[in-house]
């Protein structure tokens, strides 16, 4: 992809969240923007990215909570994001790797996860889901008749969805 195309893609995504058309977005939307550009940073990687690369030159206040506040300017975001995309950082996860991940969680090797198993892993391990995220995943993933997640089918469907 040529540099121009990459820059345009980034600007387009940025624009969607630039409510006042003044080339700034709320820092709380940065994660969504970065992910919508096809990157898959973890929450931790995202936090580091914002803290190190983006907030250092922005007039903002770090409040007592962990959540950063303030605005990110396009002129700061653009070069950083171009670099991320050119260096192919935080690449999206290939389907076969995802399948393996589900298989790891499927300790009984039955080809499916029970609802309880999935909920436990997603809300208690790793970078836990919020209740909302969990419900949303279940609404598409859960087979209501068996109360299980047939993860092969689920992944296949998600891949189609995205394309």
């Amino acid at each position: 992809m040529r540099l121009q195309e990459i820059q345009k893609k980034i600007k387009d995504a940025f624009e969607v969240f630039d409510h006042e058309s003044n080339d700034t977005v709320d820092v709380r939307e940065i994660g969504t923007i970065i992910r919508s550009l096809g990157c898959c940073p973890s929450e931790g990687e995202l936090h580091d990215l914002i803290a190190e690369d983006l907030l250092s030159q922005v007039s903002s206040r770090m409040v007592e909570e962990e959540e950063p506040t303030g605005y990110i300017r396009l002129e700061k975001f653009l070069p950083m994001m171009v670099k991320v995309l050119l260096e192919r950082r935080y690449r999206p996860i290939p389907e076969d790797l995802l399948l393996q991940a589900f298989e790891v969680l499927d300790s009984a090797k039955e080809g499916f996860l029970t609802k309880e198993e999935l909920v436990k892993y997603m809300t208690e391990e790793g970078e836990p889901f919020t209740q909302e995220e969990m419900e949303e995943m279940l609404s598409a993933a859960l087979d209501p008749e068996t109360n299980t997640i047939q993860y092969r089918d689920y992944l296949a469907m998600m891949v189609i969805d995205e394309n």
Partner: protein, 642 residues
């Protein structure tokens, strides 16, 4: 030793599991974000069209002023009666109490029969009835409006509220006829009562399907708990706005016989709604916002009931050029009627229409065409000047139902979830706790999208947004083609995507990411060039009579709402009919003011051919409906009905 290796094995296993979990969580969050981007894009489309619509109102307001200016002094014929209608529109008499009391409620009516003074159990009956989709009889509607007017007339413009520890205070924003949201709030937060006080910050009506029921519930709670329920006027508590945004239509559909009377009463009742509340002299609650010259002292002593509608600004006969928004109003020789002074008018419009922005200073609100954009410095100045701590306002739809800006001094609360479309946004309300620290509660009423996945919900919002975009494009189709030709002087039939985006933004006057939207909207792109003659994807069609010329069709689609308002005003007795003479005179004025190039004879012909000329009168609703827009999906369902 055996133990050690099994522990190590366990550790490795759970380490693997954690890594797997993180992988899946990562991936899912990426997927969610891409959907969120599409949802936001759709919301941006909705928002810019909504604001562009509001701007169009300016043209209508100009037209009214133009009418009053040009036709009161000069013309003696039928046009004089036309302008008289505009002048007198505020002076239509209300039904006397005795007449209302004598409206007969038939035995076949099984809805609630209200007795006045209202009690709490009456309101419960009302709520239960509305849950069963019953319609309150017109007589009770009118009686209720009568009683509410009496209560509202006693209130000052800005109603003081004192918070107390023993009573909860909840603030809700725009509801826009979403009865299920109102019920959801009551379910989560309890019904209004002596111990559970509520402030409703305007925009109760328009857009949603149950504006009437929302209004009846709010008004009846006001009657039962007049010291604990506070209703502020919003920019949609305006009888001309209602004509444009759906409430008038809802009333005429639900109340065929007495709808006209209800509308006239509403006109008045709206003007008596207070414009704000002030909590502990520290927190100002108003619908829109402020401007740099906002002066509470002026606002407190205005005769607020003189503001009939934002579309009817005051007219003076002084030598000074009046401004409405960014346009000059024509000078007029009409003597001052019962209207506000220019300063008072501006103060009120700013309160009802302004929006906060991060840019400093006070600028004209170009999106909406009325009110200001006010920056954090304006907020600080106004708050300091009147010793206030913060302003709670509504007026703007927010994805999360609320928003905080200007360093915590401006809070927006918006209580209509799924405002643009199912799945577009959450609603929220605020509870003020100790020391008046606000707590936010969110919700989203979900009965259509229940059971739908995130992906399906975003699909719904997105296709709705593109649907109304298509409507806008079709109503300006010939201007678009003309603009495309400008960029294609050699008539090749194609223009670059860049030029296409420029032309489209110029004609539609919507600042959207047209470069990105292009592939979604046009049928053929080749090597970065748009084959514009191939047309647009998924454009709606207008089911118009054959005789109608395309210019006429476009005009009628584009100015549908304006025309509806104008005809409604002329139709004094709300019969749905106006005389052919009035229709012709109105059309002539309209097309000259709006610079429309259609022969009057053609319109006449149309009306005749459509058999709408009923003994010298025309059914204008039928006329306008004949030019309705039909979308591809709707078309399919219409076909199957035949």
């Amino acid at each position: 030793m055996g133990c050690n290796s099994s522990i190590q094995y366990e550790d490795r296993k759970s380490e693997k599991a954690i890594k797997a979990a993180v992988l899946i969580q990562n991936w899912y969050r990426g997927y969610k974000s891409r959907l969120e981007l599409r949802r936001r894009q759709a919301m941006n489309i909705f928002e810019s069209i909504e604001y562009a619509d509001e701007q169009d109102q300016l043209q209508l307001a100009n037209f009214f002023s133009f009418m009053l200016e040009n036709y009161t002094t000069n013309n003696k014929d039928s046009s004089e009666s036309l302008s008289q209608l505009f002048v007198n529109t505020t002076k239509r008499k209300l039904e006397p109490e005795t007449f209302i009391r004598n409206i007969n409620v038939p035995d076949t009516y099984y809805g609630p029969r209200l007795k006045f003074p209202l009690t709490f159990s009456d309101v419960i009956l009302l709520i239960d009835a509305f849950k069963e989709n019953q319609i309150l009889h017109a007589r009770y509607v009118l009686q209720l409006l009568q009683e509410v007017k009496k209560v509202l007339q006693q209130l000052p413009n800005i109603v003081p509220v004192t918070s107390t520890l023993s009573k909860d205070l909840t603030i809700c924003g725009d509801i826009h006829g979403k009865l299920d949201d109102l019920f959801l709030i009551f379910y989560k937060n309890g019904l209004p009562s002596g111990n559970n006080r509520y402030i409703f910050n305007g925009d109760f009506v328009d857009r949603g399907q149950n504006s009437m029921e929302v209004l009846m519930v709010l008004f009846s709670f006001l009657l039962v708990y007049p010291s604990d329920v506070y209703l502020n006027r919003g920019n949609h508590e305006d009888y001309l706005m209602n004509m444009r945004y759906g409430f008038t239509k809802e009333i005429m559909q639900k109340y065929k016989e007495h709808g006209g009377k209800i509308l006239r009463f509403l006109e008045e009742v709206y003007t008596w709604l207070p414009i704000g509340t002030i909590i502990d002299e520290k927190i100002l609650v108003i619908h829109g916002g402020i401007a740099e010259n906002t002066d509470l002292n002026i606002l407190k002593q205005i005769k607020r009931n003189k503001m009939k509608s934002v579309l009817m600004p005051p007219i003076t006969h002084s030598g000074v050029n009046l401004k409405y928004g960014h346009h000059d109003l024509p000078l007029s020789s009409i003597s001052a009627i019962d209207q506000l002074s220019k300063i008072e008018w501006e103060q009120m419009v700013n309160i009802l229409w302004s929006d906060p922005r991060s840019k400093k200073g006070c600028h004209l609100n170009t999106s909406r065409g009325g009110g200001c954009y006010f920056g954090p410095d304006v907020t600080t100045n106004v708050l300091d000047k009147f010793a206030l701590k913060m302003i709670i306002r509504s007026h703007e739809c927010k994805p999360e139902g609320y928003d905080i800006c200007h360093d915590g001094k401006i809070i927006t609360v918006f209580s209509a979830s799924n405002y643009y479309e199912e799945g577009s946004n959450r609603g929220a309300y605020i509870k003020l706790g100790q020391d008046n620290v606000p707590r936010f509660f969110q919700y989203q009423s979900n009965h259509i999208t229940q059971g739908k996945t995130l992906h399906e919900r975003v699909d719904i919002v997105e296709s709705a947004a593109f649907k109304i975009l298509g409507e806008r494009m079709i109503s300006r189709q010939s201007s678009l083609i003309k603009a495309f030709h400008k960029y294609d002087p050699n008539n090749t039939g194609k223009i670059s995507v860049r030029d296409w985006a420029k032309a489209t933004e110029e004609v539609l006057e919507l600042s959207l990411p047209w470069l990105s939207l292009c592939p979604r909207v046009v049928k053929m792109i080749e090597n970065g060039y748009v084959l514009y003659e191939m047309g647009f994807k998924d454009m709606p069609v207008v089911k118009a009579p054959q005789e109608a010329k395309s210019a006429t069709i476009e005009t009628l689609v584009r100015y549908r709402s304006d025309l509806k308002i104008i005809f409604n005003i002329i139709d004094r007795d709300q019969s749905g009919l106006i005389s052919m003479d009035e229709f012709r005179a109105m059309w002539k004025l309209f097309s000259s003011h709006y610079n429309i190039d259609i022969e009057d004879a053609h319109v006449d012909q149309l009306a005749n051919s459509m058999d709408l000329n009923k003994d010298g009168s025309i059914d204008f609703n039928e006329f306008l409906t004949a030019f309705d827009v039909v979308h591809r999906l709707d078309r399919n369902s219409v076909k199957s009905q035949n």
